[in-house]
Symmetry: C2
Subunit: 106 residues, 2 copies
DNA sequence: AATATATGCAACTTTTCGGTTTCGCAAATT
DNA sequence: AATTTGCGAAACCGAAAAGTTGCATATATT
């Protein structure tokens, strides 16, 4: 079982779940209504999300409210950081090219 | 075949490949030296990365240099955007709490 | 021309994934 | 007390993933 953040967000249903519970805590049943799958399938997704700590549970009687562990999402952002540097540099280079073109036009 | 960016970065070997070719274009053979898998396996990963347009090829005689399509990486960044808003808000709320604590100390 | 090298592709195998169905349990409702 | 409801866990299934081995092909090298 790999179970890291990147594997967790690979599945589109899980990404949708993440987007939903980012806004407000939700129960498995409430979540399942948004998809064309059984509640059990959603439950399985929630387990995966819980295992990689992307999600936290809050027990309320027999209901369980799931909500996003936003901090964990930053891990993805952190990984992206190395590439952000690259695409910003590229952008600056493009900027230079455009600036030179302008100069030549004059 | 799903083949989207999120599925592409789910595999740790692929993430490593992405990180390598982000710095400089590399051939499959050169890449394979960095992993404990066969060249063919790396080739397969490269095909997946190519299919979702995360990677571009440059033919040079019998060698093929692979490099990162940085633009495509922005798709992940774009998806993260919605959560960035949330964690920044949370941060601001924490900021307020800290500010209040300071006030009380006075 | 013969051989070596770089690569992709196809076939095959094992493991993982995402789903369903069935079940058991605890909390609510009647 | 009996029934309904919300949930997770386990068993099972088909499809996809990730790897290996064995080719075929095109370009270099000798």
């Amino acid at each position: 079982m790999r179970r890291d953040v990147f594997q967790a967000i690979a599945d589109p249903t899980r990404r949708a779940i993440i987007a939903l519970i980012a806004l407000q805590a939700m129960t498995p049943n409430a979540l399942a209504e948004n998809f064309h799958t059984s509640r059990q399938a959603v439950s399985k997704h929630l387990r995966i999300l819980t295992e990689c700590e992307l999600v936290k549970q809050e027990y309320q009687g027999r209901e369980i409210y799931y909500s996003l562990e936003v901090e964990k999402m930053k891990e993805i952002d952190k990984w992206l950081e190395q590439f952000r540097k690259i695409w910003e540099t590229r952008f600056n280079q493009l900027d230079k090219v455009l600036a030179n073109l302008k100069k030549q036009k004059k």
